[in-house]
Amino acid sequence: MTAPIMQVCAAELSLGGHKILDRIDLQLFPGEVVVLVGPNGAGKSTLLSAMSGDEGLDAGDILLAGKPLADWDVKQLSRVRAVQTQESRVSFAFTGEDVVRMGRAPWAGTAEEELDEMVVANALRSTESGSLAPRTVQTLSGGEKARVAFARVLAQETRIIMLDEPTAPMDIRYQEQLMTTVHHRTREGATAIVVLHDLSLAAAYADRIVLLQAGRIKAVGTPSEVLTAQNLQDVYRYPVSVVQHPESGGVIITPLRPHLQPSKIREEELI
């Protein structure tokens, strides 16, 4: 087994007197997609921002390539990991292309700079955002903004990509496309850690799933190990059903809605 690229050891973090992360242990390996799931306030975003170096820990360590995260220079760090935050607001009327080009900033002044044009074009192509390039980001819809933000993350060409609910504002096509691209990047050697709310999407693309509950890891493992009806009901406090799709074989996780009247849709109308 290869060495982990990131290690979170007994991480603890309190915000406003409230324990957000409680003794989290996690390792990330090259070539895998790790998806963080869990209910609101479970600590997913906080864990991600601690791993990206934005939040310091109260206790515990986060090691990146064996070196404590706090010892990394901001510039060096930007060449190793790229982050897409939940919010992708941009001040001033920068175009989509401007924003994607900002992803190249970590490589400015290096030999890599010569490849800027090619990489920006590839990032736009991979996200099907070519048509957004000349448009002002402020005028884009939420989903379009998120696509531009993801293209920027790709243009950074880092070995670690951290995405906080990147697919939340996207339609089905771009959700699938983003996760396919993420999957593809990890097969090329990248490591991805992604916060998702869509459990079916998580089940389809994750190599490993980390289920968080109240700042602790409730379960970690492959999708079929973690995303069991029992685990999810415990964590989300809502009855869910985990079924296998008859055609794709993929796992579908759907809430059971016992309080609603049985659906009146006739059997043959269902696919």
Binding site: K75, V83, F92, R125, Q138
Partner: protein, 378 residues
């Protein structure tokens, strides 16, 4: 894998994983390439306009001096005997003792104020941030007034400008600490901070007017109105290097300010040391504002109008916006100063009044527009 390998890029290939339902190939992204030529053209035109406006401004006044005569006068001073010197016996002295320092000061003040506007707007991520609006100019003026009224001479000729610098530094820091919260600027807080600082600075200036002797009082009134009347070479020699230092420092921050438009966290993710950038910008703004305020008084709205118009024309990228604003600010100030001293015969209008007359309504319009526009208020 070693650490060195990890900070190598993981090449992004152009191969797009094909999704089911892909009927037609997405069009190739077309990247903007024509902008460089357009931007260079704008800079050249602005530069030429500044030169022409400077020559024109030096020529007009109670004594009209032609451009040819001005050029001849300059070339003679440089030891070249080109052209014919001005006919009028006092033309030489009028040019060299009064007009040239004033023209140069207009260029310095305009360039510094516009650059300060660009810096503040960049670091606050908001087009309404401007030295006079948020109180940096009046903070600098309050300190400078104090040095005049109390007759302080710690640094000789440089005392006023040093006092203005400290005042600008204090005001900028105060604005920053108050209006910036959680990595974002609330516009309401920003403007209210400006109201508070302007009120305090106004009170200090009023107190100093009360305390000062007659000559100090006159000087202070001149401050509040803003004027380039009576600019001396020594003033140009002091304000010029400070403004130049400020502008050069500003140029080192342009790329980082672009990234800051994404927000503080994303900027950090892209390798910007946000804390350091913040301090840098505060110092730069203090430099630029003090250079402008120390000898010209409070001249408002230049830092608001110029960057905004140029942002609409050239886009928001700071690498273009900054040099264009430096030139645009100089141009606007030359025009304003020429108007101030020629609009009414034998009268030198306060230039701060002129810029406020034009800039005030513009600010109104900008507030309305920003409120309507996307992401304006926070």
């Amino acid at each position: 894998m070693t650490t060195d390998q990890r900070i190598q890029p993981l090449r992004l290939q152009g191969t797009v994983p094909r999704l089911p339902g892909d009927q037609l190939q997405a069009p190739e992204p077309r990247l903007g390439t024509g902008n460089k030529i357009r931007n260079t053209t704008v800079l050249v035109i602005l530069g030429a306009a500044v030169l022409l406006a400077a020559l024109f401004s030096a020529g007009v006044g109670q004594m009209q001096i032609s451009v040819a005569e001005i050029l001849a006068s300059i070339s003679h001073r440089l030891g070249l005997d080109w052209g014919v010197l001005p006919e009028h016996p006092h033309a030489e002295s009028a040019l060299w003792a009064i007009r040239f320092p004033r023209v140069l000061m207009a260029i310095i003040v305009g360039a510094a104020l516009a650059a300060a506007g660009v810096m503040m707007q960049g670091v606050f991520g908001n087009p309404l941030a401007e030295p006079s609006v948020v109180g940096v100019s009046s903070g600098a003026a309050a300190f400078a007034c104090t040095s005049i009224a109390l007759g302080l001479t710690f640094f000789g000729q440089w005392t006023t400008v040093v006092a203005a610098f400290i005042g600008g530094l204090v005001a900028t820091t105060l604005v920053y600490l108050t209006a910036r919260h959680g990595g974002r600027t609330e516009v309401v807080t920003l403007v209210l901070t400006g109201v508070a600082i302007n009120a305090i600075a106004g009170a200090v200036i009023a107190l100093m007017t009360f305390l000062g002797d007659t000559s100090a009082r006159e000087e202070i009134i001149f401050w509040q109105l803003g004027s380039l009347n009576g600019t001396l070479w020594i003033n140009v020699g002091i304000a010029g290097p400070i403004a130049l230092a400020g502008i050069l420092l500003a140029f080192t921050t342009t790329r980082k300010l672009d990234l800051l438009a994404l927000g503080e966290r994303p900027a950090r993710h892209l390798g910007v040391n946000v804390e350091r950038l913040r301090k840098q910008v505060i110092v730069v703004v203090a430099f630029l504002t003090s250079a402008a305020v120390a000898f010209a008084g409070i001249i408002g709205f230049v830092g608001l109008v110029v960057p905004h118009i140029l942002r609409m024309a050239l886009g928001p990228g700071h690498r273009m916006l900054l040099p264009a604003s430096v030139l645009g600010g100089a141009l606007l100030m030359l025009a304003a100063d020429t108007t101030a001293r020629t609009l009414v015969a034998n009268a030198d209008l306060p230039i701060g009044m002129l810029t406020a007359l034009v800039g005030g309504p513009f600010f109104f319009w900008l507030i309305r527009r920003t409120r309507r526009g996307a992401g304006g208020w926070s």
